[in-house]
Amino acid sequence: MKLSNIVENLSLEVKTGENNLQNDVTGAYISDLLSDVMANGKEGNVWITLQTHLNIVAVSGLKNLAGIIIVNNRPVQEDVLQKAESEKVTIMSTPLPAFEIAGKLYQLLNG
């Protein structure tokens, strides 16, 4: 499924990486531990997390993730958004908590 379908169906706010929305999504991984995502996230996964600091951009870029969904509408600092834009990393945001957005995404990907 294309990232753009997910954005539309889950009403995600796209904060960076508008140009990458045609990327294919292979699944999702939920974790707030960055080493866990480095170890267990898969290429093309959407990463659901509450972490918003600079290092999420490097993790997403190094793992070739499809994008990051920030939960609970947590604010993302401008320097993080700029880094994400320059590294072509897609950051999206949802008001929902991780459990709810994951449930919806699971249904969408597997329904």
Binding site: A39, H53, N55, V57, G61, L62
Partner: protein, 141 residues
């Protein structure tokens, strides 16, 4: 790939903003060289965890990588504080990271194990008060 491709980075402790620079450069060099994607993934994970450890724990350090026909070699040395018990530090889940680092989602005790898991050869030496040296080798064939 007859010649050696190499790169060298200074890493400053506490500088979280630059984390990933060495790993990103190594990843793009390996991509240019047409290295197998699974190997690139392993190199990126091991290098990033090594960078993070210097940033989290040390005052400063250096990272060098060398790529030749047979293998990727990544060497990291830092200026302290050193690891008291390497065996314990290698255990998954063990960490001495302070709370504020854990709140960032680091310090889960996965760094060194992740490095080792993604290496074909992994060497670590540490002297308390002096620093830690790590050598990671990933075979290309």
């Amino acid at each position: 790939m007859d010649e050696t491709t190499e790169g060298s980075f200074q890493i400053i402790g506490g500088n979280f903003g630059n984390a990933g620079e060495a790993s990103m450069q190594l990843k793009s060099k390996l991509t240019e060289l047409g290295v197998n994607e699974a190997i690139i993934r392993r190199a990126a994970i091991a290098t990033f965890e090594a960078e993070m450890n210097v940033i989290i724990y040390a005052a400063a350090g250096r990272l060098h990588y060398y790529i030749n026909r047979d293998k990727i070699t990544i060497k990291i040395d830092d200026m302290g504080p050193g690891i008291e018990n390497i065996e314990l530090a290698m255990q998954e889940g063990y960490s001495t990271a302070p709370d504020w680092v854990r709140e960032m989602g680091w310090g889960a005790g996965m760094g060194l194990p992740n490095m080792k898991k993604n290496s074909d050869e992994f060497r670590i030496d540490s002297v308390v008060g002096e620093g830690t040296t790590i050598e990671i080798v990933i075979n290309l064939s």
